[in-house]
C-alpha cells in the first residue's frame, strides 16, 4: 500500500504506530447516542465538573460522519437496533464503540423480548462498562481504557494481520447466542 510495506517491520514502524496511536487517542470525537438514563451521566461527563475536553473530546458530534467513537448509553430496543447499526456504518474508519451501562452491554435487568441482549449482537464493542448507570468517573475510566487500546493499535500490514487474527478467533469462539450460564 504505502511506505509501511517497503520498510522492514521493526523499530521505525512501531515508533510510527505509537505516534499515530497517540495522535488518534488524543482527538477522539464521540457521537451522541444516548438512549436512556445512562445518557444523563454521559451528559454530566461533558459538563465542566468532569470536563471530557481534557481527553481531547471537545464536543459530542451530532453527525456520525464526524465521529470516531460511539458511546451507546442505554438499553437498545429491537426497534432501535437497525438505527444504531446504520449510525455505526455511517461513521468513518477508524471507529470505536463503548458499551455504556449494563443494559447496553448485556441487556441488564431487562431480560425480555423488547431489548437487545447486548449491543455486541449488532456492532463490535471495544470497551464494556458496567454500572446502572455508571457514574461519570466510570465512563472516564472506560475512555482511558479505550485510549490504551487505541495507543497500541497496529497500523498497515500489522493491522490487516491483527484483523485476520481477530476474525479467525471470532469464528472459532462460541457464538453469543450459543453461550450458556451467566454469559447468555
Amino acid at each position: 500500500m504505502g511506505i509501511e510495506e517497503k520498510l522492514p517491520a521493526g523499530i521505525l514502524l512501531t515508533t510510527v504506530e505509537q505516534l499515530a496511536g497517540y495522535m488518534r487517542k488524543s482527538s477522539v470525537w464521540p457521537a451522541t447516542f444516548g438512549l436512556a438514563c445512562c445518557a444523563i451521566e454521559m451528559m454530566a461527563v461533558g459538563t465542566p465538573d468532569y470536563d471530557i475536553a481534557r481527553f481531547g473530546m471537545e464536543r459530542f458530534s451530532a453527525t456520525p460522519r464526524q465521529a470516531d467513537l460511539m458511546i451507546v448509553a442505554g438499553r437498545v430496543s429491537q426497534k432501535m437496533a437497525p438505527v444504531l447499526r446504520q449510525v455505526y456504518d455511517q461513521m468513518p474508519e477508524p471507529k470505536w464503540v463503548i458499551s455504556m451501562g449494563v443494559c447496553a452491554s448485556s441487556g441488564g435487568m431487562f431480560n425480555n423480548y423488547a431489548i437487545v441482549q447486548g449491543v455486541d449482537h449488532i456492532v463490535p464493542v471495544d470497551v464494556y462498562l458496567p454500572g446502572c448507570p455508571p457514574r461519570p468517573e466510570m465512563l472516564l475510566n472506560a475512555i482511558i481504557t479505550l485510549h490504551e487500546q487505541i495507543q497500541n493499535a497496529p497500523l498497515g500490514v500489522n493491522r490487516v494481520n491483527a484483523a485476520h487474527a481477530a476474525e479467525a478467533a471470532g469464528l472459532a469462539a462460541t457464538p453469543t447466542h450459543d453461550m450458556k450460564g451467566l454469559l447468555a
Binding site: Y50, R54, G108, N111, P130, C132, E137, M138, L182
Partner: protein, 210 residues
C-alpha cells in the same frame, strides 16, 4: 427611559463591545471546579454501592453458606451460586465455612448487576457486602463475570485462607456471637500440614509426568 439609556458615559460606551469578555477574564481567577479524575479521585460516599466482596470470619473461614438467597433476590439474575457440603473427614475437600454448607461456585456477572444492593439485604450472614470500588471497565465480556476467587476478601492479619477446621471446641453459632478473634495455632498447623501434603502430591505427579 429610552433617553436615559442613551446618556451612558463615554467610558462605558467605549468598553461596551468587549464587556462580555469581562466574564471570561474574571473566570481566570476563579478556582477550578473540574475533578481531575485519573490523577485525583474524589472519594465516594461511604455507603456507595460498588463492587461486591465476600467476607471472611476473623479466623479466615468464609461467611458465605451457599444459600443462594442473593441469587434469588437479584432482579437482574446476575448472581450464580452453587453450594456444597463442608467435608471435615480425612482426605476430604475440607471445611470452608463454619456451618454445614459453603458456596463452592460464586459468580457475579457485572454486565447484568445493577448495583441495587438487594443481594446485600438478602444475605443472612453478612457474607456479601459492597465496596467502594467502581473502576470496572473491561474490553472483554467474559472477563466481567467475577469468580469467587476475585470476590473474596483478602486474607488479613490473623486469618488463614480456607479450607481449614473450625476453632477447637466452638460451634457454628459461636462464630456469629463474635467468640472467634483470630486463627488458632491448631488451625495454622492443620493448614501447614495440608499445604505440605499438596506440595508433595504435586511433586510426585510431576515426576510421573516425566
Amino acid at each position: 427611559m429610552a433617553e436615559e439609556s442613551k446618556k451612558a458615559s463615554f467610558l462605558s460606551q467605549m468598553f461596551a463591545p468587549v464587556a462580555g469578555f469581562g466574564v471570561t477574564f474574571s473566570t481566570m481567577f476563579r478556582t477550578l471546579e473540574t475533578e481531575e479524575y485519573p490523577e485525583v479521585k474524589r472519594p465516594t460516599q461511604p455507603r456507595y454501592h460498588g463492587r461486591h466482596q465476600l467476607n471472611r470470619h476473623p479466623d479466615g473461614l468464609e461467611k458465605c453458606i451457599g444459600c443462594e438467597l442473593c441469587a434469588w433476590a437479584c432482579p437482574a439474575d446476575a448472581i450464580y451460586v452453587e453450594g456444597a457440603d463442608n467435608d471435615d473427614s480425612e482426605g476430604g475437600s475440607g471445611r470452608f465455612s463454619p456451618g454445614e454448607r459453603y458456596g463452592r461456585v460464586y459468580q457475579i456477572n457485572y454486565l447484568r448487576c445493577i448495583f441495587c444492593g438487594l443481594c446485600i439485604e438478602a444475605c443472612p450472614t453478612r457474607a456479601l457486602t459492597m465496596t467502594n470500588v467502581y473502576e470496572l471497565a473491561d474490553t472483554n465480556r467474559s472477563a466481567l463475570i467475577f469468580e469467587k476467587s476475585q470476590l473474596l476478601a483478602p486474607v488479613q492479619e490473623g486469618m488463614i485462607a480456607a479450607p481449614h477446621p473450625m476453632v477447637d471446641g466452638l460451634r457454628e453459632r459461636d462464630y456469629y456471637q463474635g467468640k472467634v478473634a483470630s486463627a488458632t495455632p491448631e488451625q495454622s498447623a492443620w493448614a501447614d500440614a495440608r499445604e505440605a501434603e499438596l506440595a508433595a502430591t504435586a511433586k510426585s505427579t510431576e515426576v510421573d509426568d516425566r
